[in-house]
């Protein structure tokens, strides 16, 4: 470490005597001669950080999923077994939670894609410069306020005596009664993650050269044909990139189900929270459950990669 710092000139040179200066010269010469050494010195700190704090944490999660806890004291017992995973597979309740989470995440992704595409298209290809800037601000504005505040706002909107039902009855429609339900979760999730879908689609659409569309027109492609054969295939990686965000963010969430979900709205994240931090203090089981979204996401990412989603990131 010390050598690297000195080679970088972070230590004031005035105080160093001739031997120090000599050493420094040698170090910098070594760095100059061996470019790999430079690369190593540059990469070790961030890579070490990444491995230690990020990958190691995931590894510990995976490893502890194969441990169990002492029934009486709820302290972790380090004996290898697959009981936790067996419990998840065997229990109808846990299977239901996983299925519910994945299905709602998929529904939210589809909803966001459908909503985001025309919006992003307008932003990228129709709107004038100033309108585009305004739309950008509108898309990003919700992200400036806390996630929690926005979910709470929805809780109030969807409540029985909330704004939604109040407005509906005012215009003579029956009350919607969707507060504290899976429908409420679907609405709130779709709202919250929408910007994460709009931006990648926008990026993909903006990159399509005008000449492509002109070429399509020249070849007799009408509006819909051009859209289907030129724009959509080129924008698809953007849609997939956005779907990675919306899908994984929904998959891992546990706050929205707690706040706006109903009696049958438990998500994977809630089970992790309840079993790990909650009454049973069963961290190994929570770890096993927490690895499910990781597995689901790994499969999803592999599929998305095959479809070229990472080119639009």
């Amino acid at each position: 470490m010390g050598e690297r710092l000195e080679s970088g000139g972070l230590v004031a040179p005035a105080r160093g005597g001739p031997p120090v200066q000599e050493a420094r010269r040698r170090v910098s010469a070594a760095f100059w001669r061996h470019s790999w050494l430079r690369a190593v010195a540059l990469l070790v700190p961030p890579l070490g950080w990444f491995l230690l704090l990020y990958v190691a944490a995931l590894a510990v999660l995976f490893v502890s999923a194969f441990w169990s806890v002492d029934v009486f004291t709820t302290k972790v017992v380090h004996v290898w077994n697959v009981d936790n995973f067996k419990q998840i597979v065997d229990s109808a309740a846990w299977r239901r939670v996983v299925a519910r989470t994945v299905v709602i995440a998929a529904l939210v992704t589809i909803t966001d894609a459908v909503l985001a595409f025309p919006f992003a298209y307008y932003m990228a290809r129709v709107a004038k410069r100033r309108t585009r800037a305004l739309l950008f601000v509108l898309v990003l504005l919700p992200l400036w306020s806390s996630y929690l505040v926005r979910v709470y706002a929805w809780k109030v909107i969807l409540a029985q005596d909330g704004i939604l039902n109040w407005s509906l009855t005012k215009i003579g429609l029956p009350a919607a009664n969707i507060g504290y339900s899976n429908t409420a979760m679907w609405v709130v999730f779709s709202y919250i993650w929408l910007p994460f879908m709009i931006l990648p689609i926008y990026a993909a659409l903006e990159r399509i050269p005008n000449s492509f569309i002109e070429a399509s027109r020249d070849l007799g492609g009408r509006g819909f044909r051009t859209f289907r054969s030129v724009i959509l295939p080129l924008a698809l990686p953007g849609v997939l990139a956005g779907s990675i965000f919306t899908f994984s963010l929904t998959l891992g969430d546990y706050i929205t189900p707690t706040l706006v979900g109903g009696a049958s709205s438990t998500f994977i994240g809630n089970v992790v929270y309840n079993t790990g931090l909650g009454a049973s203090g069963d961290l190994p089981f929570a770890a096993a459950f927490a690895s499910i979204p990781l597995i689901v996401m790994a499969i999803y990412l592999a599929l998305a990669r095959r479809a070229g989603a990472f080119e639009a990131l």
Partner: protein
């Protein structure tokens, strides 16, 4: 540079040396026989509202023990907090009956010498050595306050007024019912079953054999489609009733107070089947760093005046018999409202929370333990 560093080391060493005798005091093998000089600090995990400035400020002034509060929303959070960092981070915890035995068996808390708490002798007999904080004659903490788990309903929407817990199991109020998301809720179901299905032979709602337990879980599963939401924090239930999403449900007196304060027409009752209740205990961490301040707190918080002040502020019932007079001084009739003047038999009719264990108390070990309760509850409501 080097010299400065040496000085730093010396300072650090002396600081450590100063800490050692202070932390050693609580770890003595037997119970302490007298309260020493305060350590100037007391770290506590408490229910929100349990460390109100109204009674904490005078305590700090009297004893010089600065109170550092950490609020927890659930019993589970309290247990987890007491265990984080190997314990020792917090001196005391205001544990409810569903947490206290877990802390005792997990060796997270230490026995307390009741002789050092003068007011303890003024407690109702039932709260001097209740089974949720006294094990084998050892007192693991001093009882604080208690309250029943009541049936709460909106008087405008729920008609006729309910008299039985059956109201939260009937489809009449489908989608308007709320109950706590807490495994100990199984005991409420068991209490109801003990009256409605006597053939199951449930004597104690916390000591259930497999058959009784299965019956309770089956009822919870049947009840689930009727539930609007399982509430986690007391504030969740307040907003459910305030926004008209829930009309009826299981509640705590303090919640009822908040909802009434929001001008929602609600009423709480103890139904004819009886009720479960919670009893909170100030427990002392087995690795407490400030045991003398903790004992000073015990003496202070158990005294009739402070007991009455907390009871009327928070909306719960004191364990000190002499608090009744003080309560009426603070707010007329409050002693009777919170049943602080009820006969001992009344307390015995409330089934107080305790952590279920395999030992059924009758020599048999075939009861469902808390882990089974948690597993079954989590799956039934997921």
């Amino acid at each position: 540079m080097r010299r400065i560093r040496k000085v730093h080391v010396l300072v650090a060493l002396s600081a450590v040396a100063l800490c050692v005798p202070a932390s050693g005091a609580g770890k003595a093998s037997g119970l302490p026989s007298k309260i020493g000089k305060g350590e100037g600090k007391l770290t506590m995990i408490a229910w929100e509202g349990y460390l109100d400035a109204k009674w904490v400020k005078p305590f700090v002034k009297q004893t010089g023990c600065k109170v550092q509060a950490k609020y927890a929303g659930t019993s589970d959070e309290m247990v987890t907090l007491m265990r984080t960092g190997g314990g020792g981070q917090y001196d005391m915890v205001s544990a409810s009956g569903d947490a206290s035995l877990r802390l005792i068996y997990g060796k997270d808390v230490q026995p307390v010498n009741t002789n050092l708490v003068p007011s303890w002798k003024q407690f109702f007999k039932a709260f001097q050595s209740p089974p949720n904080n006294t094990v084998g004659g050892q007192h693991y903490g001093i009882s604080l306050q208690w309250g029943p788990n009541t049936l709460l309903y909106n008087t405008k929407k729920v008609k006729p007024a309910p008299t039985s817990w059956s109201a939260i199991y009937s489809s009449k109020y489908k989608g308007r019912i709320t109950v706590p998301n807490n495994p100990i809720q199984i005991a409420d179901v068991a209490l109801y079953l003990s009256k409605t299905q006597p053939s199951l032979g449930i004597k104690d709602p916390y000591e259930l054999n497999q058959k009784q337990f299965n019956a309770a879980i089956a009822l919870i599963k049947r009840q689930k489609p009727l539930i609007k939401k399982y509430w986690g924090l007391s504030s969740d239930e307040v907003s459910l009733f305030k926004n008209g999403d829930a009309w009826i449900g299981a509640s705590w007196p303090v919640t009822t107070g908040s909802i009434q304060a929001a001008k929602v027409p609600v009423k709480e009752i103890i139904p004819k089947e009886g009720a479960t209740g919670w009893l909170d205990t100030w427990m002392l961490s087995s690795k407490a760093k400030h045991p003398n301040c903790a004992y000073k707190w015990y003496g202070y918080i158990s005294s009739p005046k402070v007991q009455a002040l907390q009871a009327t502020t928070y909306g719960e019932t004191p364990v000190n018999k002499l608090a009744c007079v003080e309560m009426n001084k603070l707010s007329k009739g409050s002693c009777h409202t919170y049943h602080a003047d009820a006969p001992e038999s009344y307390y015995r009719s409330i089934k107080f929370w305790k952590t279920p264990v395999a030992d059924c108390g009758n020599g048999q070990k075939n009861c469902m333990d808390y882990r089974k309760w948690v597993n079954a509850w989590n799956q039934a409501v997921s």
